[in-house]
Amino acid sequence: MQDRITQVFKAIADPTRREIFHALVIASSALSITQIASQFDMSRQGVTKHIKTLENAGLVVLDSQGRERFCNANAKPLKEVNKWMTFYEQFWDDSLENLGSYLDQKAT
């Protein structure tokens, strides 16, 4: 079973899914599958497949109203990934900086 952060990386690896996700983020309200399909000139099936991947990653939350399904963006999983990356980027930069100072000091 793939865990969620792997799903997030998988979901955002595809440019079309990134565009759909972006469209949902900037939309003032939830968008239906039909609206997304017309905006991206794609079939409903195509959109549904991408939305499913985004939903598995927790990036989209679906809300059914009658026969239509509405999609809401949820950016929280991205923040988790981003926080980890940002934290360790800084952590290793600082650590290697310390290593450099240590080696310089030892050599003198």
């Binding site: 290593l99 450099g100 080696l103």
Partner: protein, 143 residues
């Protein structure tokens, strides 16, 4: 975007000096973090950061590979059960030694675990790093 952090840095020092700094417990404890460490395969190491008011943390893991000039160990932050992998590689270059560092495996974290890990880790750890930087400066001034 992927889940690997890579760093490259060139040190103006011979490769064996850099190797000792990253593989000997006494030296790791000086520049990085208090270490119970041996550069031998299967050694269970522990890194302990200095306690402070926010509480620091423990990192443990197993040495997977250790021979000049490649060092690989798992990296498990206390209170999480998920391991990431830290890889160090050294290479002699004209200017001295090129260090290649890789930290991979965030995708092994469940989303919620990652948050808990981060929150328990962040405050204490940053304090410790700041402490270490201050310590090094002090050492340089004293010397």
């Amino acid at each position: 975007m992927n889940d690997v952090i890579t760093k490259e840095k060139v040190f103006n020092h011979p490769i064996d000096k850099v190797w000792d700094a990253i593989s000997k417990a006494e030296e790791i404890s000086t520049w990085f973090i208090q270490a119970d460490f041996k550069a031998q395969k299967d050694y269970q190491y522990t890194f302990t950061s200095e306690p402070n008011e926010k509480g620091c943390t423990t990192i443990s893991g197993t040495v997977k590979e250790a021979h000049p000039y490649v060092l690989v160990y798992t990296w498990i932050v206390a209170d999480t059960n998920v391991e990431t992998i830290v890889t160090w590689k050294l290479e002699s270059v004209a200017e001295g030694t090129k260090l290649y560092l890789e930290h991979s495996g965030i995708s092994n974290y469940e989303g919620d675990t990652a948050i808990a890990m981060f929150e328990s880790f962040n405050g204490g750890w940053e304090n410790c790093i700041n402490g270490l930087t201050a310590y090094l400066k002090q050492e340089v001034n004293a010397g």
